[in-house]
Symmetry: C2
Subunit: 200 residues, 2 copies
DNA sequence: TGGATTTTGTATCACTGATACAAAACTCTG
DNA sequence: CAGAGTTTTGTATCAGTGATACAAAATCCA
């Protein structure tokens, strides 16, 4: 008995969808509690009941971004045991950041002052690591790359995060050809460098 | 005649110093117009007279960051014509980001919703490019690296921005040794990879 | 000393995140 | 079927932010 509930898990998803949409279209400054609530057909306090506070909403966006990225990686063809396996992950990562630049920024930079992921949140949400680490490990075991697989994965992730940051900000190059060439050259060079046994 | 001026270029510098300090100590959310003005011994409208608006203040912080980074690069020993020249720039860049993590974020990510550098501002403020590009060009001419020097510089810059982003956020590694090893491994591998003539 | 002039800081606005609480919406009993 | 009882919701409000109009302050000169 009592007034029927409207602040359901379904409304939570609706709010999250609206937040993702506002973020993608008009950027972080458009994601205000009032704007999100109104566009979702409810009022601001619903966000606080369903997400705790605004940082909870941004956190949900953050996790959803990593879920989508994981789905993207899951569509990749099975690894063949060559460095091209890692190049495929790099390409998929880049495609994702070009299609979802604001979402990428929420995941890897901190456009919202109210939310910075704690290390454990980062690990939970980070689907990236395993895609990189698993392939790096296979390649190290196959003697195609040399060094610690986790170190290599962090290096590759560092490169792609940096290139994507520069590209989404418009500073990687003026033309698509410039950006393509720089992505490809850097990715191939890094893997080539990891392929050399520096202790040999 | 009239009331003596207080909103002088000296006060502008004072305000900028205060903003840099508040940013470094308490992060972007501590840089409010009131807090900066009070700490500088003036009132909020002075900021608007001297900087236009808050994004103007953040822009000044942005430029000051690149000035400091350029000074850091200027202290580097003269290039010797080996890939170690670029490794030295990479090390100096990393040192800078570890000593000024919030400032680095203002320069390369967008922690303030109100300010994103326009491409021409980025080029003006970017002392990074020439330090990387000049050395890359020398190494390409000396046949130590292969490819376009500007492309290589963008690739190296991408790597260091990404690694620094991850490190300042605490996601590059749990210990200093982890971070050191991953920086070194990635930097050396990338340069090693650029050293191979992929068209040969 | 007091008018004229320039500069400053206070008071205020719109908007944001956040929340208290009265109105709304429903169930069930007498 | 009226209305008490219960639960939920959205409105009204608060403090803090970026921004600005304008009265008060501070000076100079007649």
């Amino acid at each position: 008995m009592g007034r029927p509930r409207q602040r359901t898990p379904e409304l939570r998803e609706k709010i999250l969808d609206v937040a993702l949409d506002l973020l993608a279209v008009d950027g972080p400054s458009a994601v205000t509690t009032r704007a999100v609530a109104t566009a979702a057909g409810t009022s601001a306090p619903a966000i606080y009941e369903l997400f705790g506070d605004k940082s909870g909403l941004v956190r949900a966006v953050f996790f959803d971004g990593f879920r989508r990225l994981r789905d993207r990686f899951a569509e990749l063809p099975p690894p063949q045991g060559t460095p091209a396996d890692l190049l495929a992950v790099i390409d998929a990562f880049r495609d994702f950041t070009r299609e979802n630049p604001r979402l990428f920024e929420v995941m890897y930079t901190k456009p919202f002052a109210v939310y910075a992921p704690a290390p454990e949140e980062r690990e939970l949400g980070d689907a990236t690591r395993s895609a990189f680490v698993d392939r790096a490990r296979s390649l190290v075991q196959a003697d195609q790359l040399h060094g610690d697989a986790v170190d290599i994965a962090h290096g590759v992730l560092g490169l792609v995060v940096g290139l994507a940051t520069q590209e989404t900000a418009g500073f990687l190059g003026a033309t698509a050809e410039d950006c393509d060439r720089r992505w490809r050259g850097a990715a191939e060079s890094l893997l080539r460098g990891y392929g050399v046994d520096s202790n040999a």
